[in-house]
Structure formats: structure tokens, C-alpha cells
Symmetry: C2
Subunit: 286 residues, 2 copies
């Protein structure tokens, strides 16, 4: 079992990953600007990685493995935010400090859009990926870059596609969507967390797509959400344009991660959407 330091541990992927790392028996240290109340088996470090020197946290944790998830993720803003630049700089400081404090293996997450857009978010993620791979030898680190495809699941932030569609349909409000012809590889947050745990257990170098290996039209995913909520007539198709330069199809190549770790996605899109609808109904009753 490893001593693992998780950044962005209170985020969407972070929460699921911390839970699974603890269950797998790892000694989990986690950073957050605002850690939750004490929890068994997780050592929390209060840190603002964007503004503070991470050396103290790295030394205090003494981790062999870093799972770096912290980034700007605010829906509607993260794609073009200048904070993407700051997160590249902060991530460099972090891996330098982690390496100096005896770290051995670093895992970080990117996006399928890295290869398909010159916007700030994908450019920043793609640049950090290149920098970490080029620096791995000199840093004395194994570096695994998890290129996460179309992430979704219960607990996903409002402002993103599925949470907004589902909550509107449950309220009986109309939903304006694009034509939805673009195909994406939707991958459930629990599967992503499992993939990260698999990368912690199998120390490997490289870039690994994290997805199901199947692409599905966004329109079909919206139809599944409508079927699960009974709100089929509320969908207004083709009411918003596709984003400029949006690729027609993004599908994960799952073979490298399967061969390196044995991981493969388990949650079907139908199961995933059911779990989101169930969770949204619970939230509604609160």
C-alpha cells in the first residue's frame, strides 16, 4: 500500500477517488482550500496550491504517489479562464516540490479536448502533459497522464450538460440543446476514480485515455435522460449551436490503460444516467 497525496480532493473526481483509495487500504493525504470535517483514514492538509508554496504540504505528507486533480473547473468559465495558466505554473511548483520531498510517481488528469482545440483549458492541460513527460526522467518520477473523456455522474456540478438537463426535466421545464450530433465517450466518475486507483497500484509511464471505448451521440444521451425522467416532450432540439470547431467524434482508446493496469469501465450510460436521476430526486426532496 502506498502513501498517496491527492490534490483537488474535494472536487468531483477527487471525492470518488479519495473514497476508493481509502477502501483499497492506501494511506491517503488530501489537500483542499476548505477541507471537510475530519474523516477516518484521510489526513487533510489545508492548502491553496494556486497561491502558496506546496513544499510544506509535500514534506508533511511524505507521499510516494501524487494524484494531482486540482484545477479550475468552474462550468462556463474554465474553458477560457486565465487561471488555466496559473494552474500550469502551480502544477510545475507542485511536482518539483513533490519530487524534492521524495515522491516517486505522479498521476495527473487531462482532457480528450487536449488534442482538438487551441482554447486555454485544453492548451494548458496539453502543455502540462508534455512538460511532465519531458521532465519525468530529470524529476525522478514515473508520470501517468489520465486523459479523461466525457466525464459525468452523480455529484456533477450544475452548469454542465447532464445535471442541467436532468434537473430541468425533473422540474418539468423545457430544455434547449444543440442538435447533439457530436459523439462523445461518456465515462462515469466512479469508473474514472477506479482508473486512477489502478494507476496508483500499477506504477506506469505514459498517457492513458480514460473512457469506455464507445462513443455515443450527445442527442442519444439526452434522450436517455428524458426517458429516465419522463420528460421527452420538453426537449427543444437544435436550439443552441455547436461550439466552433467541436470535433464530430471523440472516443477513448482503452487498450493502453487496460494493458497497463487491467482497468476497464464498468458503468453503462443507462446505469449512469439512472444513478444521476435518482441522486437528483434525493437532492430535490432535501
Amino acid at each position: 500500500m502506498a502513501v498517496v497525496l491527492v490534490t483537488g480532493a474535494t472536487g468531483f473526481i477527487g471525492r470518488a477517488t479519495v473514497d476508493r483509495l481509502v477502501r483499497a487500504g492506501h494511506d491517503v493525504h488530501a489537500t483542499s482550500r476548505r477541507p471537510p470535517g475530519a474523516r477516518d483514514a484521510v489526513t487533510w492538509h489545508v492548502a491553496d496550491l494556486l497561491r502558496e508554496d506546496p513544499s510544506d504540504v509535500c514534506r508533511a505528507a511524505g507521499a510516494s504517489t501524487l494524484v494531482h486533480l486540482a484545477w479550475c473547473v468552474e462550468p462556463g468559465q474554465y474553458w477560457t479562464s486565465l487561471e488555466n495558466l496559473d494552474w500550469v505554473a502551480a502544477s510545475i511548483r507542485l511536482v518539483r516540490a513533490f519530487s524534492t520531498s521524495g515522491g516517486e510517481s505522479a498521476i495527473a488528469v487531462g482532457s480528450a479536448a487536449e488534442q482538438h482545440s487551441s482554447a486555454l483549458y485544453p492548451t494548458a492541460k496539453g502543455s502540462l502533459r508534455s512538460l511532465l513527460h519531458a521532465g519525468a526522467g530529470a524529476l525522478g518520477l514515473d508520470v501517468a497522464w489520465a486523459r479523461v473523456h466525457q466525464l459525468y455522474g452523480p455529484g456533477e456540478a450544475a452548469g454542465r450538460l447532464l445535471p442541467d438537463v436532468i434537473s430541468s426535466l425533473l422540474r418539468g421545464s423545457p430544455v434547449r440543446v444543440s442538435a447533439g450530433t457530436q459523439e462523445r465517450d461518456f465515462v462515469h466518475v466512479d469508473d474514472v476514480a477506479d482508473a486512477l486507483v489502478a494507476l496508483v497500484s500499477n506504477r506506469v509511464n505514459g498517457t492513458f485515455d480514460v473512457g469506455t471505448g464507445r462513443a455515443i451521440a450527445v442527442a442519444d444521451v439526452v434522450r436517455l435522460a428524458a426517458a429516465a425522467t419522463g420528460g421527452r416532450d420538453l426537449i427543444e432540439w437544435d436550439a443552441v449551436p455547436l461550439r466552433d470547431g467541436e470535433p464530430a467524434c471523440l472516443r477513448a482508446d482503452v487498450t493502453p490503460l487496460l494493458e497497463a493496469t487491467g482497468w476497464r469501465a464498468q458503468v453503462t450510460i443507462e446505469q449512469g444516467i439512472s444513478s444521476m436521476v435518482a441522486s437528483a430526486k434525493v437532492d430535490d426532496r432535501r
Copy 2:
């Protein structure tokens, strides 16, 4: 005329650039960890950009134009040094602070190797280039990236090809070189400085090769140095291997910079080598 802030101003390109900016009538501010004695018409700011917050320097300079030259350049080390990562982070902090302090236009230098190697130096330069172009709009900056080809000239650091070849030949010592079949676009430091001044005067966005537009075999350059020093018999050819993955030919595409600014290289390789030999002889007599 513009208020210009030059980083790395005491470096090889920096010295030549500061001189020319002053002669062109610009109000020149310059940073260095160890500024030289006071000089007319240059305002020096003591700063260690790798370790310090650059906000104060940017505010104090109040420049509209940034010429960012500071980087790790130690011969024999810069290609693989982890400081390349730190310079990416420091450069991000710098352009953020420059933008916040009212900057309008940023010029930075890269390398022809950016597109041809996954080593740390070219990867770091290439990543910064992508980040600055992707961030230009949100930063409110025009960004010109000067991709400098095979830089040389009087004042070049020991440990680099031509200074070492020339000083050995002048001492009558044998010189061990590769087969020298690789062709490079050798560009004189004075031409590079002129190109940067042209980019200061013509605010443009984009990536611009800085070279002569002609590639010459490294062996031919070594022969020219031998002819200029009279040390032809001292050359031991094919005594060191070519670097792995070294591209056969790199030649600048000079059209974009010519069209954007009217600049073109003026110094021939024969003139450039003569000036280096003359300067090395003066150094020898000191």
C-alpha cells in the same frame, strides 16, 4: 517610442537588444539578477524572476512592451535542466503581472528545436509558446514569438560550438567535431537583436522564424572558422556523434517576419565568423 521592459537583459541576446532599443529611442527598462553599473538611458531593475514575484518590477517599469529573454541557457546543461520547468512557471507569472500592470504587447524567444525534440528545453519553450498564444486574448496582449534559429556571434558563451572551435584553433589545439552533415540556419546575434527591435516597433501576433532563410552544413561553418584562423589541420572530423534524433536540416521561413516588419538578416556567415575571430583575438590579448 515605447516603454520597453527587457528580461535577461545582461544575456547574449539581451545585451545586443538593449543597445539597439536605446539607439532606436525607446525608454528601456531592464531586469537582471546582477545589473551592470549605471548606464545612460537604461533603467535597471534588480530581480530574480525565477524566485520572486515580478509584480513590483512590472509596476515600476510601467512598460507597454515586454521583451522576455530570461531563461536557463548554461551550455551543456540547459537542454535537460529542470530549470526549464521553473522558467515556464516564472514566465507565466511574468506575463500575468505584465498584463495586470497595463502591458499591451509581449515578445518572447523560442528555438527552432521546439518542433523537433521532446527534450526539456524545446518542450518547455514550445509549451510556453502555445500557452501565450492561447492566452493572448484573455491577457489583452499581442504576443509575438520569435523562433530563433542557430544563434551565434561575438560574445557567445564558451561551451557552445563556434566559440569553442575558434578559441581552440587560435590556441593551436586540436578540435574534435561531429561529421557536421546536419544543416542549420546560422543567424548572427546582431540580426536577432534587430529582429526583436522590429517586433517592438511593429506590434504583431504570431510565431516568427528568425534566421537567414539559408541552411549551411555545420561542417562548412567549422571550415570557415578554420580558414579564418588558419587552423585547418587541427580539425578532427567525426570524432563525436551527432545528437540522437538531430534533424538533418533546419531552415528559417523568413517570409512571415519580413512581411510583418520588413526585417531581414544582414550579416553573412563569413562576416559573422570574421567578427567572432577578431573578438576572440582581442579577448586573448587581454
